[in-house]
């Protein structure tokens, strides 16, 4: 898949239109997506919400899992999303928001111009004739700004979980079509460690609004079973 991610520019992109749909070739190519704490209650009904280490920074990310192998997405079929829920960040594509490496406070809007949602004749315009942002673009940017804010809060909450030493490395072993397989590199919150926390730390987790998310994390783990069901259906169909 080819990409061309560039900063959105009112001159260069004055005549670009965007179809209001999902680009799953881009957003759905992996077996996971980062999540923000605000969407954890809904997402926990459908996906295992686990922690993984970012391979660039080693820092923990909270993610929704879509498959049991890398690049396996059991919620994409014929380029359609078959889940009832979807992490918000996947709906931003082909737009995106990023920070400059030298200035973490400065946010940039970017676009992947090679997405099939980008065209000259179909979809919503991004800029009007005066070169101003259209209402459509304004809404999309607003959604991404809100997301950035929520992502920052999420990062702080993960930091709290790490500081309280609640995570532990886990493997998920499963059998499919007679083959034994292993999903590693995954971290879960340890119920034992959580239960041993002193009262004031539990209170801190509750006040910061992360205790609820932790319980949604626990209940989300039941969805490993539905991932397995989806996988065996897919293999049965093949």
């Amino acid at each position: 898949m080819q990409e061309n991610i560039v900063q959105l520019d009112k001159v260069e992109h004055s005549d670009i239109k965007l179809k209001n749909s999902l680009d799953l070739k881009r957003a759905g190519s992996g077996n996971m997506s980062p999540v923000i704490v605000h969407e954890i209650p809904q997402l926990s009904t459908q996906f295992p919400l686990i922690f993984i280490k970012n391979s660039n920074t080693g820092e923990f990310n909270w993610v929704a899992l879509f498959g049991l192998e890398s690049k396996q997405n059991l919620f994409v079929e014929n380029e359609k999303w078959t889940g009832k829920e979807i992490p918000a960040i996947m709906t931003h594509v082909p737009l995106g928001m990023t920070t400059l490496p030298e200035d973490n406070d400065k946010l940039l809007v970017v676009i992947d111009t090679l997405s099939h949602l980008v065209s000259k004749d179909e979809g919503e315009a991004l800029f009007n004739e005066n070169g101003d942002e259209t209402e459509f673009l304004k809404k999309r940017i607003q959604a991404m700004l809100t997301y950035q804010h929520h992502a920052k809060v999420t990062k702080e909450l993960i930091q709290l979980i790490v500081e309280l030493d609640l995570l532990e490395s886990k493997e998920f072993s499963f059998e499919i079509g007679g083959d034994k397989k292993n999903l590693g590199g995954m971290y879960l919150i340890s119920e034992e460690k959580l239960n041993k926390l002193p009262d004031e730390k539990i209170l801190l987790l509750q006040k910061k609004g992360v205790l609820g998310a932790i319980y949604h994390h626990f209940s989300s783990l039941h969805n490993f079973k539905s991932l397995l069901n989806r996988l065996s259906e897919r293999q049965g169909a093949a």
Binding site: K53, N54, S55, N56, T57, G58, E59, F60, V162, D165, L167, E168, S169, G185, Y187
Partner: protein
């Protein structure tokens, strides 16, 4: 009851001892024992000893120090091996005149491949036949990834560190987290009672410090063990000839110059040069024998090694007395660090020995003063054993050399210069490879793995003729060699250069799980 301990000296040995004792005795606020460290504001620390061995990882974790903090604050880097250059043959005799003494344990389980390699070396260097770490080092790769938790990696590793900054980190940990009292003053006198025990030490600005136990960490000065108790020093210069060091701090030419993932020890005509890469600079030094060369030629050797960068740099001369004391614990006084003795830093023995001695003291410290004599006998016996074994191991690096390009090397290779215990061990290994039964103590400073890497890295000849018929799984051993080569090819794609990983850790930190 032993209720108060006074440590004299605030270098690395003093602070390592303070941390070990404080952890073992129960930590801040809860312990029934008060530890005080007396540091002279006027005497500079020696501050050499920038290499460590993997046991340092356990020590840091034991002290409750985060690996991230340690790496950031001590300009520390990862060390996976010592690369010995020009030790086996005269310089220029071959392009491959080096060997690695790596930290990964050689692959001797489930199949011990050592005898197979001895029977058929296959053009493989010994280290490459039993581990992949030599290749990892030569490729300049780090021993771990950013996703590895603290103190864990793909390969075994230790650190290079800035000794001054390390002392500072240990001091902060001991004082702020473990409740050690830090007194800055000069020791002026030592008061001994009729039984020979130290009652208190006098200081110039902090009054008298009373204690039940005194630890002499005052370095070469040995204020208590030598100046007060006059314990005999057992000179070892008949075995180990080097007695002087010239040290230099060499800045990197470019901020992103690679950092070697191993110590480089290059043998020269009258000694050897250490080359240690920290994140901020390199530490380079020539350790030589003043019997075989003079200071001017030694400095020239060092400057030639460093090259153009050396022209504006100063070097510092340190004189050393090689040997150890007859006793390390007398009455209620224990010596730890350079006050115990000194041996050239060829195998990172400095911090290794400080750490081992401090750990032993922390573990064996009796509760009552009347048990001190028994404990000191045990401590002295164990420490003497350790020193003797260390001397053997260091001497072996010289004794096995085939160099004959200077008197220094010719004399070093004479059997008359080697300790009897080394000659006896080598005599056994002339007809069979070393075995775990040759290293029966759990607390050997250097073990089977260390000996294997150095012996066979140095082309030591074991005559296999009497036992060759026992080794019937040659094909399987070939498979092991192939596996290392495959594993390395895979690892190469995952590991990144030392400096790159260190930069990432500076920025993001390592996770604890």
């Amino acid at each position: 009851m032993i209720k108060s301990i006074v440590i004299v000296g605030g270098g690395t040995a003093g602070w390592i001892t303070a941390n070990h004792l404080a952890v073992a005795l129960g930590g801040a606020g809860k312990s029934s024992v008060q530890i005080t460290l007396l540091e002279s504001p006027d005497i500079p620390t020696v501050g050499v000893g920038e290499g460590t061995v993997p046991a340092m990882r356990n020590t840091l974790a034991h002290f409750g120090i985060r690996e991230t903090d340690f790496l950031r604050e001590c300009d520390a880097t990862f060390k996976q091996s010592i690369k010995f250059v020009d030790w086996v043959h005269n310089p220029g005799a071959s392009v491959n005149n080096f060997y690695h003494h790596v930290f990964d344990y050689p692959a001797i389980y489930p199949l011990n491949t050592v005898p197979y390699w001895l029977l058929e070396p296959n053009n493989l260097k010994f280290a490459d036949a039993v581990s992949l770490q030599g290749k990892v080092c030569d490729a300049g790769l780090a021993p771990k990834m950013i996703t590895h938790p603290e103190f864990q990696g793909v390969t075994e590793y230790a650190y290079h560190l800035d000794a001054g900054k390390f002392s500072q980190l240990l001091a902060n940990n001991a004082v702020n987290k473990l409740g050690v009292k830090h007194v800055k003053a000069n020791l002026t006198d030592v008061d001994i009672d009729e039984s020979g025990d130290i009652q208190f030490v006098k200081t110039d600005r902090a009054g008298d410090l009373k204690g039940d136990l005194f630890v002499d960490c005052s370095g070469f000065n040995a204020l208590l063990i030598d100046k007060k108790y006059k314990v005999k020093f057992i000179d070892q210069s008949q075995h180990l000839f080097v007695d002087t060091a010239l040290a230099m701090q060499v800045p990197y030419q470019n901020p992103d110059d690679p950092i070697a993932s191993h110590t480089i020890a290059t043998a020269k005509q009258s000694g050897w040069i250490w080359d240690i890469g920290l994140s901020s600079r390199r530490g380079v030094g020539y350790v030589y024998s003043s019997q075989y060369t003079d200071d001017t030629s030694a400095e020239e050797t060092l400057r030639n090694y460093v090259g153009g960068a050396a022209s504006e740099l100063q070097c510092r001369k340190i004189s050393m007395k090689i040997g150890y004391r007859e006793k390390f614990w007398v009455n209620n006084c224990v010596s730890i660090g350079l006050s115990q003795g000194f041996v050239e830093p060829l195998e990172a023995t400095g911090l290794l020995l400080f750490d081992a001695a401090a750990k032993m003291l922390a573990e064996l410290l009796p509760g009552h003063k009347q048990d001190m004599a028994k404990t000191s006998r045990l401590f002295n016996q164990r420490s003497t054993y350790t020193w003797k074994r260390v001397i053997d191991f260091i001497k072996m690096h010289y004794y096995l050399s085939q160099r004959d390009d200077s008197e220094f090397w010719i004399d070093n290779r004479k059997a008359s210069s080697a300790p009897q215990s080394l000659l006896e061990a080598l005599d056994l290994w002339h007809n069979r490879p070393p075995s775990e039964y040759d290293f029966f103590s759990r607390f050997e400073a250097f073990n089977l793995d260390n000996y294997l890497y150095v012996l066979y890295g140095m082309e030591f000849q074991t005559n296999m003729s009497g036992i060759a018929g026992r080794y019937t799984q040659a094909e399987k051993s070939q498979e092991f060699y192939r596996r290392f080569s495959q594993q390395f090819d895979e690892l190469k794609t995952q590991l990144e250069p030392n400096r790159k990983l260190l930069g990432r850790i500076k920025k993001y930190g390592l996770q604890t799980c």
